[in-house]
């Protein structure tokens, strides 16, 4: 059975190889092949899942050792896989959502002549992501980690002819690299501390190492997580990443890749449990990002960027939960899965809207679309309800549990975190309602685009709507299914560990409070965008709004400090290299030239001058001999 694990990865990898090397002759069937292999991977996943369910709680972890990757003395990196409940969850999420989005893309990318390559990249991403979650040691995880980074780079920059897209792709890769730096340092630390970096030994013996080491490793892992999951301070790339095709945003920048950080932290739970300080930092980062993303989401008029902001903030929730330790890991993953459903659904919905509106992304130019694209409206609406945590839907359960866990952290920390999460819930309700209203309600505000095409909104083809419907189902029922009878907790407990945190206030109170803030947020949004017409051109807005529109000036900071500073540094260094380092050498050469010029004067060609020098030379020689004899 465990031999199937490699196939999980092999299938999409094969697809990528064939599609990317295949050449034009595959253009006709490329997308089908890609989808087929993604689906195949999903089927294998399901098979393995059913097999896993068949076995008892602790015997569920499977191992597969393929070959020894980098063997150098004590440094032994293997290509080996570990499939436990945590990995399983991800495998199903990745392959499932991935397959759906493959199907969706068939329709969405229909008019793109490079569709074959697009599917190649998607398959590549699936392979890398699966490698990431299936690796049984940190170095192999790093392999997948960078692999998904590459795939996201290729996919964000898929429309390379757009300079903005190319820049966004580069930015994403670079910011991720900063995170990867953290991961690589973490791996080195593990190697020097434990002499290995395989999950089993490292996580098994975290107790023996000093807490300082553990904190260092934890913080480095967190840095990596921040890069991949767009957490403050490395969040700046996610907004620009929306330059990519919408299915990409849905799959990579909403459902799967950006949640890799959460996976990393949960997977390394043992390390964080041994390093409370690191845990605290994790929580803080989560809380800050949670609000940051929410605020940004409120101000964006670009529908995808608004959703990106929300993604950021939702992942903030997960990171925060993961930072809470054993009381939070499970809920983090649970929210991750539900979020995978509804956020993917929302993105696909947004994509469908854009599809119908000549790729217009400005929500101020939408309005009243519910009549024109009913399916999209319904699925998007369900997703919306799910994300704001409407009772009974997925988001309600998962988010509610996180909020409880936050309170359960205990002490003032608990209160602060709890209130932050509540505030986040309120803002979430606000900006999602805003998106909903601006897109589907009110009167139509759309206008001809620069080419003079009057958009005539229409429902998207089946290949796009069906995935949306399936995801909508997921976003409605998944949460309930997981939460009732603590199914999910029991499922993951053997891997992540779990102990129930006692909140200072009863669960009911928390739920109530959540409901209240939720209604408040939604109502406020309705007051602002539902009742009065939405101006087509954005009003100047308050200082905060303007800051939020610019991602709270974080990009400007980067630009001024990093980009400008870097440019100056490199330019001055180029100058130094040319003048100083090179100049020294050339200077020496020049001085030698001058010296020889002076020496040339002695060579006047008169025999007698040479005779004198000879004579002097002899004299010197004699003197030397005499001295030697004397000494």
């Amino acid at each position: 059975m465990e031999n199937l694990i490699a196939l999980l990865i092999a299938a999409p990898l094969l697809g990528a190889a064939v599609l990317l090397c295949g050449g034009r002759r595959l253009d006709r069937v490329g997308h089908w092949l890609g989808t087929l292999l993604a689906a195949a991977s999903f089927v294998i996943g399901v098979v393995l899942f059913s097999d896993m369910l068949g076995r008892s709680g602790d015997g569920r972890t499977l191992h597969q050792h393929l070959f020894s990757w980098i063997p150098v003395e004590s440094f032994q990196a293997d290509v080996a896989f570990q499939l436990d409940q945590l990995s399983m969850t991800f495998v199903l999420l990745i392959t499932g959502v991935g397959t759906l989005i493959h199907i969706y893309s068939i329709g969405y990318m229909e008019h793109d002549e490079r569709r074959r390559r697009f599917f190649g990249y998607l398959n590549l991403f699936l392979a890398a992501m699966l490698l990431l979650v299936l690796a049984d040691n940190y170095l192999l995880l790093y392999f997948g980690w960078e692999g998904v980074g590459l795939a996201s780079y290729l996919l964000i920059g898929f429309w390379q002819h757009k300079p903005s897209a190319a820049t966004a792709a580069k930015k994403a890769f670079l910011v991720n690299r900063v995170g990867d730096m953290g991961l690589s340092i973490a791996v080195m630390l593990m190697f020097t501390t434990f002499g290995t970096f395989a999950f089993g030994p490292v996580l098994g013996s975290t107790g023996d190492a000093t807490e300082g080491k553990m904190t260092a490793i934890g913080l480095m892992l967190l840095l990596a997580a921040c890069g991949k999951s767009a957490q403050v301070p490395l969040q700046s790339w996610l907004g620009d990443a929306m330059e990519g095709p919408t299915p990409v945003s849905a799959l990579i920048h909403a459902a799967t890749m950006v949640t890799a950080g959460v996976y990393l932290i949960t997977r390394s739970g043992a390390i964080f449990n041994a390093a409370p300080d690191a845990q605290l930092v994790v929580v803080v980062v989560g809380a800050v990002t949670l609000l940051f993303g929410a605020v940004v989401g409120c101000a964006k008029d670009d529908i995808k960027k608004a959703l990106a902001g929300s993604t950021m903030s939702q992942i903030g929730y997960m990171i925060l939960a993961a930072g809470l330790g054993p009381i939070g890991y499970v809920f983090a993953i649970m929210h991750l899965v539900t979020h995978g459903f509804f956020k993917a659904g929302l993105f696909l919905g947004a994509g469908s809207v854009m599809h119908g509106m000549n790729d217009e992304v400005d929500m101020r130019k939408y309005g009243g679309l519910r009549k024109h694209m009913p399916v999209t409206f319904v699925t998007f609406g369900l997703g919306y309800l799910a994300i704001i945590g409407f009772p009974g839907l997925s988001g309600f359960f998962s988010k509610d549990l996180i909020i409880e866990a936050a309170f359960a952290k205990g002490g003032t920390q608990g209160w602060i975190l709890g209130s932050v999460t509540l505030l986040g819930a309120a803002i979430t309700a606000f900006y999602m309602t805003r998106v909903m209203l601006m897109t589907f309600f009110g009167e139509k505000r759309w206008q001809p685009d620069e080419h003079g095409h009057q958009p005539h909104p229409h429902e998207s083809p089946k290949s796009m709507t069906i995935p949306m419907i399936i995801l909508a189902f997921g976003s409605v029922f998944a949460g309930g299914f997981f939460a009732i009878g603590e199914r999910f907790v029991h499922w993951l407990e053997p891997v992540t560990g779990y102990h129930h945190g006692e909140a200072p206030i009863s669960a009911a109170t928390v739920t109530g409070a959540t409901m209240v803030v939720l209604v408040l947020g939604a109502a406020l949004a309705w007051l602002m965008y539902g009742r009065r017409p939405v101006p087509v051109t954005a009003p100047r807005g308050s200082l905060l709004t303007r800051a939020a529109r610019r991602d709270l000036l974080q990009d400007d900071f980067n630009h001024v400090v990093l980009v400008r500073g870097g440019e100056h540094l490199t330019r001055s260094l180029v100058y130094v290299d040319h003048t100083l380092v090179d100049g020294v050498v050339n200077g020496t050469a020049a001085s030698f030239g001058g010296l020889s010029g002076r020496l040339r004067k002695l060579q006047n060609g008169y025999a007698r001058t040479y005779a004198v020098s000879m004579f002097g030379g002899t004299a010197v020689l004699i003197a030397a001999t005499l001295l030697m004899r004397a000494v």
Binding site: V612, A619, I622, A623, L626
Partner: protein, 282 residues
């Protein structure tokens, strides 16, 4: 000379390890040594090459004497015969060939050359002397045994046994040298010699000096090559003297004195014949 040789001989026949030589030799050394040094200095300081050559010859003779005094009879003689006799004469020949009287100025043309030379020379000499100074051994074995069988025989014995190869090689060297000297000085005629006729035609074509050059000298009492022949008006003709002599400024101009002699002759004859000046002038 022979006395010197004798003294030297008596000296060298003294016991093997002596520490000092006879006072006679000492005196001789100091006297002749001074001469040698003066000769050497004048060699390098004389303006005219001839003088340098002569003073060098003097130095060499002195050296010959010293050889004898040092028990090198053969070398002493050879020194006089070969060096002073042959080589220096060769020098003189060449000097004559190039021009005896052409005195070259001792003005130094190369900047700083003289100072450098002086400096180096001084330092060098000092060093040599210092070197000898600390190489000097206060006692010396004379040539008593070595010259026992006669100096020449001793040399010969060595020369034809131990140094025979060197000897042969030097012989070869000498031959090569003479041949080389011939080659160097010999001038290969590049074009066919002109026949007399051609020369004549050439002269005519040039139109200058058709008849042969006038012979030097006038009247039987003056026929030396260095005296210009006189033209009918009594002035000297440049053509009559060899260019080389002219170049060296070695022409004796006798035209005026010849005329003066003529006058004196006429006057005396007039006196004897008892004529008076008027007649003479008329």
């Amino acid at each position: 000379m022979s006395t010197l040789a004798a003294s030297a001989g008596s000296l060298t026949s003294v016991a093997a390890a002596a520490s000092t030589t006879s006072t006679g030799e000492a005196v001789q050394f100091w006297v002749l040594g001074t001469v040698a040094v003066i000769g050497a200095l004048s060699t390098i300081l004389m303006k005219k090459a001839v003088h340098s050559a002569l003073s060098l010859a003097a130095t060499m003779i002195v050296l010959a004497v010293f050889y004898l005094a040092n028990g090198a009879y053969f070398l002493g003689v050879v020194q006089i015969i070969v060096y002073t006799g042959a080589i220096m004469m060769l020098f003189l020949f060449v000097v004559m060939l190039v021009g005896v009287t052409a005195a070259d100025s001792l003005k130094e043309t190369l900047k700083g050359q003289r100072w450098l030379a002086a400096l180096c020379g001084l330092g060098f000499g000092v060093l040599l002397i210092a070197g000898i100074g600390n190489a000097s051994l206060d006692s010396f074995t004379g040539l008593g045994q070595a010259n026992a069988g006669g100096n020449v025989e001793g040399l010969a014995a060595l020369l034809f046994t131990k140094y025979v190869f060197a000897f042969e090689i030097t012989g070869a060297l000498l031959i090569t040298a003479s041949v080389g000297a011939m080659l160097l000085t010999h001038r290969e005629r590049t074009e066919r010699a002109k026949t007399q006729r051609e020369m004549a035609e050439e002269r005519v074509r040039k139109g200058t000096q058709l008849p042969p050059l006038p012979a030097p000298g006038v009247y039987a009492r003056h026929n030396a090559v260095d005296i210009a022949g006189l033209l009918p008006d009594g002035t000297a003709s440049e053509l009559t003297v060899n260019k080389t002599l002219k170049a060296r400024g070695q022409i004796r101009d006798v035209s005026n004195e010849a005329i003066a002699d003529l006058k004196a002759l006429e006057r005396s004859s007039a006196e004897r014949l008892g004529r008076d000046e008027e007649e003479v002038n008329s």
